[in-house]
């Protein structure tokens, strides 16, 4: 965990490092606190009387805001409704043949024939399964929210570039917007802007503009000094310098921002359909989900995944094409506007044709094929045939992994679960065993590992949800101190204080328990898969479409089969978390390993490294920063999944968010939402600090790693 696991051959068992002394103190103090839990129950469960009434404060503020500024927000909403209705009406009015044609030309212009064909196939799928209108309604929402998000994001990013003082405030806001679960701010948007399609639009903009800000800032900042100087020398004014020099030089990064903004807007539009008013594809998924129709929800979910992939490929196609495109600016009018002309001509021809052949106007209902029946049958088959196996897997996961971590071996071990009683003698053996392991690690000079073993032994014995909060505070504060110094430690303590005093500490621990197991498993399995994928091409080819689907498909869809197979409860929620959080772990580790410089690999091969040595000694250490970024993202994905996992019956912060949404209680939902943001930001800063530390160690000498 901490600075140096620097092992020399001579064992210095008795030279205590100060960090280790402090750790031993913390472990001892934790045990003392645990022994006091009967006498002072407030160490475990924070008393209700000490809770600061954040919920009612938030509700009072919200009521005041709605009362005083309601009219203003309503008029904003009315203004936004004009372009929204226009685009929506246009897209649903256009004959499908015309829309398909236009989108194909756009795809071709972005990335060539292959994408155009993929577009045609995807759109045909939407037609064939009979979800065309719903798809167009979703597309309309994205089509309106993305340009607005891009403009807002670009403006804020530019402001941040010119006024570095504003930047800090901007970054904090962005962090909050991206980590507070979207479900928590649907209700305030509804209260402020009123009901309707505009809610989805605004939620989409709020969620989608942060990546645009980040990329704009990054792009503008990376413009080389020489370029600016040459601009200045040729006598550019400030405005010219900005629009003619800085922005074009930053274009690639800005276009990447547009791409990410599109994807974010799209994922948000789906979530926002929980409000209703738009009869879009998200509503279809939610309705099917409510009816537990796996087949139907998967069919609609695939539409979403296809649309997301299309938008991603098209926007990134444009982003990558840009530089090559510049030569066309000097050619003739027809040449410059060839795509526009083709589009217009083709659309006109098809439109006229659709007036003659109504089949080209509205896709006939009789041609609709609904593949949901066979899908439902397939799930039934699994449930019935593998019932015994499923029960066994679940039992194992519960008794040997989840419950010990949650409630502690102390509570879990019983004749029914483990087949024997956890007698006092056995408990003493457990303690001795832990001490022996710690001692062994210590003698080997690995004092940090000894501390980790001690901590794990304590948590497993007593259970995370039964740990005294002062102990958790101490541990977290000291870890963050060691990672990045007193500032991080103070920030972490502040975050923990919020979670405790807002009265959501028990839910926080439940969330951390579920998310923690999920993240560890995702990272272990995901990294293993990523390593395999980087070493063996077929594995990579097999995993890629699965990753794409898991990331773009709304995860509501997966919940239904998971529940049908594994029943309501935490195990199903854990699987849902893993299904989502494993993707970044796979992606980042594969990407990192593949991008190890060739010359280094060749050099190592020349030195006679075996494949295993090459991997363990060269590639993994070099790919470590990227793998740490993968861990960071795994945690973020895991946390964001908590809200969705609550739909299958978990009790944690995610459930609080729903209680807020279900009761129309802004304060409850927002308090929990901020709590999740706090956890996410703490986790982000700590992993970033850890990664920086590791990088420091490895970059100094990448070959001297390990023991």
């Amino acid at each position: 965990m901490s600075a140096d696991t620097n092992v020399s051959v001579n064992l210095k068992i008795w030279t205590l490092r100060p960090a280790s002394v402090i750790w031993l103190g913390i472990l001892g103090l934790t045990l003392v606190l645990l022994s006091l839990r009967e006498a002072a129950p407030w160490l475990i469960s924070y008393p209700k009387e000490w809770v600061i009434p954040i919920v009612s404060v938030l509700n009072t503020i919200m009521a005041w805001v709605v009362d005083t500024t309601g009219a203003f927000f309503r008029s904003v909403s009315a203004v936004l409704d004009i372009p929204m209705s226009a685009v929506r009406n246009l897209l649903t009015w256009l004959p499908w043949s015309v829309s398909v044609f236009i989108l194909m030309v756009v795809a071709y212009a972005a990335a060539g024939w292959r994408l155009a064909i993929f577009t045609a196939i995807s759109l045909s799928y939407m037609l064939v399964v009979g979800l065309w209108i719903e798809s167009m309604n979703s597309l309309a929402l994205v089509a309106v929210s993305v340009p607005l998000a891009v403009i807002i994001g670009f403006a804020i990013g530019t402001a941040g570039f010119f006024y570095p003082r504003a930047e800090r405030a901007i970054m904090v806001t962005l962090d909050a917007l991206q980590t507070i679960p979207a479900f928590a701010y649907l209700l305030p948007i509804l209260l402020l802007f009123g009901f309707g399609v505009v809610v989805g639009l605004i939620a989409g903009i709020l969620f989608a503009f942060p990546p645009m800000v980040r990329n704009t800032l990054l792009g503008l900042r990376r413009v080389p000094e020489e370029v600016i100087e040459s601009g200045l020398m040729s006598g550019a004014t400030q405005a010219q310098l900005f629009f003619r020099v800085r922005v074009p030089s930053a274009a690639r990064q800005i276009l990447l921002g547009i791409n990410q903004t599109t994807m974010a807007a799209f994922s948000m539009v789906i979530i926002a359909s929980i409000i209703g008013g738009s009869s879009d594809i998200g509503w279809e998924v939610l309705s099917a989900m409510r009816k537990a129709r796996f087949g139907e929800s998967l069919v609609a979910g695939i539409v979403i995944a296809l649309m997301a992939m299309l938008m991603d490929r098209i926007t990134s196609g444009f982003a990558n094409r840009k530089p090559a495109d510049e030569q066309t600016t000097e050619t003739s009018f027809t040449k410059r506007h060839q795509y526009l002309l083709i589009t217009l001509a083709g659309a006109l021809v098809l439109y006229c044709a659709s007036l003659i052949f109504p089949v080209l106007q509205t896709y006939p209902k009789t041609w609709v094929y609904d593949p949901s029946g066979p899908l439902n049958t397939a799930i039934d088959y699994v449930i019935i045939e593998y019932a015994a196996w499923i029960a066994l897997i679940k039992k194992w996961a519960f008794f040997y992994l989840m419950l010990p971590f949650k409630m502690g071996l102390e509570q879990v071990i019983s004749p029914f679960s483990w087949g024997f009683q956890f007698t006092p003698t056995l408990k003493i053996f457990y303690g001795i065993g832990a001490l022996v392991l710690m001692g062994a690690a210590w003698i080997l000079g690995r004092q940090n590992q000894a501390v980790v073993i001690g901590l794990l032994a304590i948590v497993l014995f007593f259970g995370l949800t039964r740990m005294p909060w002062p102990a958790i505070w101490m541990i977290m504060a000291y870890v963050s101190w060691q990672l990045a110094g007193p500032r991080l430690a103070l920030a972490v303590l502040g975050g923990l204080a919020y979670l405790l005093m807002a009265g959501i500490w028990p839910q926080t621990l439940l969330s951390i328990y579920l998310c923690g197991i999920g993240v560890v498993l995702s990272f272990v399995f995901g990294t293993t898969l990523g390593i395999l994928a980087s070493e063996f091409e077929p594995v990579s080819r097999f995993l890629r479409p699965i990753n794409d689907t898991l990331q773009t498909m709304p995860l509501f869809v997966l919940l239904i089969p998971f529940v049908m197979i594994f029943k309501i409860g935490e195990f199903t929620a854990l699987l849902a978390v893993i299904a989502y959080a494993i993707v970044p772990a796979i992606r980042y580790s594969e990407h990192g390993l593949r991008n190890v410089p060739h010359d280094v690999v060749e050099a190592a091969e020349c030195m006679g490294c075996t494949r295993w040595q090459l991997l363990m000694r060269v590639k993994i250490p070099l790919a470590l920063p990227e793998m740490m970024l993968g861990l960071n993202q795994t945690i973020m994905f895991g946390i964001s999944m908590l809200v969705i996992a609550a739909l299958v019956g978990t009790s944690g912060l995610g459930q609080q968010v729903y209680i807020g949404l279900g009761d129309g209680d802004f304060g409850v939902g927002m308090t929990a939402g901020i709590g999740m943001a706090v956890i996410a930001i703490i986790a982000d800063r700590m992993t970033a600090a850890w990664s920086a530390k590791l990088q420091e160690r490895y970059t100094s000498n990448p070959f001297s790693s390990g023991g």
Partner: protein, 316 residues
């Protein structure tokens, strides 16, 4: 799949034969809320079809269960013919109090809310549906994580804690597990039903699952208003708060300006009534026989003129 799009008023004027538009007071479309479940779709489309028959323009708008109250209170939606009186959150009672939402009376549906189990459990536990027999058989319903207690799926946490309260008050040998969401509860019901495994779940009627699967209601001693203070009623003579569940009301609600805007439609909606039998038979057609909602409703309208014509007459 186009069930949410506007249905054309095929049945409207021709059937009435008297140019119902004369009744219509405003030509603005009446916006009817469409929730996520089929029972409500039936109520909404019956209401919409009757209003269309009387010459009104209607529009169906999808809306989530809580957002719809904000929408009706703000006048963005106008009519919700099936409002369940429990789990309505905070916006609904506040808006009714302030007059932004007007309650038109009961829809006519009689909801049942209680614990239920698949009918095949009757063989394994003789004495069911009586609650005392259920208590005797509680271990039959146990799962690994609840053993030796029985596993009870309750409503999602955001729908209140009535089952948990009953278990605690009466000290019943069951472990309440929050259902998470309606979809998750149904998914588990389907899974249990297909494998013939035991299951106990808090659920409600009218609901389309009853047309797909046979579940029986646990019989509790009836609810009395003094149950929480008087130990006598309920499962045990010495415990309070151990009665069965208080049953919900289902009401028709409209927006504040509905009456002034469409006085005729207001009277039609006051008269309109839908009972469990009607809704269940239509649910069976839609969810079990997989027919189109519009088609089923149009057929009902065609066959039941005697039922709905008096509602239209009531508007005059």
């Amino acid at each position: 799949m186009q069930k949410f799009t506007k249905t054309a008023g095929i049945i409207s004027l021709t059937m009435l034969g008297m140019g119902g538009a004369a009744l219509a007071d405003s030509s603005d479309p009446i916006k009817i809320a469409i929730n996520e479940w089929t029972g409500q779709h039936v109520s909404a489309h019956i209401s919409g079809s009757v209003l269309q028959a009387a010459g009104y323009d209607v529009e169906y708008v999808t809306a989530g269960a809580v957002p719809q109250f904000a929408a009706i209170a703000q006048g963005n939606l106008h009519l919700q013919p099936e409002t369940w009186g429990n789990n309505v959150g905070e916006i609904y009672p506040k808006s009714v109090e302030s007059g932004d939402i007007v309650v038109l009376g009961l829809t006519g549906l009689e909801p049942i809310e209680s614990w239920m189990y698949p009918s095949y459990m009757n063989d394994q536990c003789p004495g069911l549906p009586d609650v005392n027999a259920l208590i005797e058989c509680s271990q039959l319903f146990a799962a690994a994580e609840t053993f030796p207690k029985g596993r009870l799926i309750t409503y999602p946490a955001d729908w209140g804690t009535r089952s948990k309260d009953l278990v605690n008050n009466a000290g019943l040998p069951f472990e309440p597990i929050a259902g998470g969401s309606e979809g998750a509860m149904i998914a588990e019901m389907q899974s249990a039903y297909k494998t013939g495994s035991p299951m106990l779940v808090m659920f409600w009627e009218p609901h389309w699952v009853h047309s797909e699967m046979d579940f029986d209601w646990v019989q509790f001693p009836g609810y009395t208003p003094d149950c929480d203070t008087n130990p006598a009623p309920g499962i045990y003579a010495d415990k309070t708060g151990d009665c069965g569940f208080k049953q919900a009301n289902i009401s028709k609600i409209v927006s504040r300006d509905f009456e002034s805007h469409w006085p005729g439609a207001f009277k039609i909606m006051q008269a309109l009534s839908i009972d469990n039998g009607t809704q269940n038979s239509l649910l069976l057609e839609i969810d079990f026989n997989k027919r189109e909602l519009e088609e089923v409703i149009a057929e009902w309208m065609g066959n039941n003129e005697a039922v709905w014509m008096p509602w239209v007459e009531a508007s005059k």
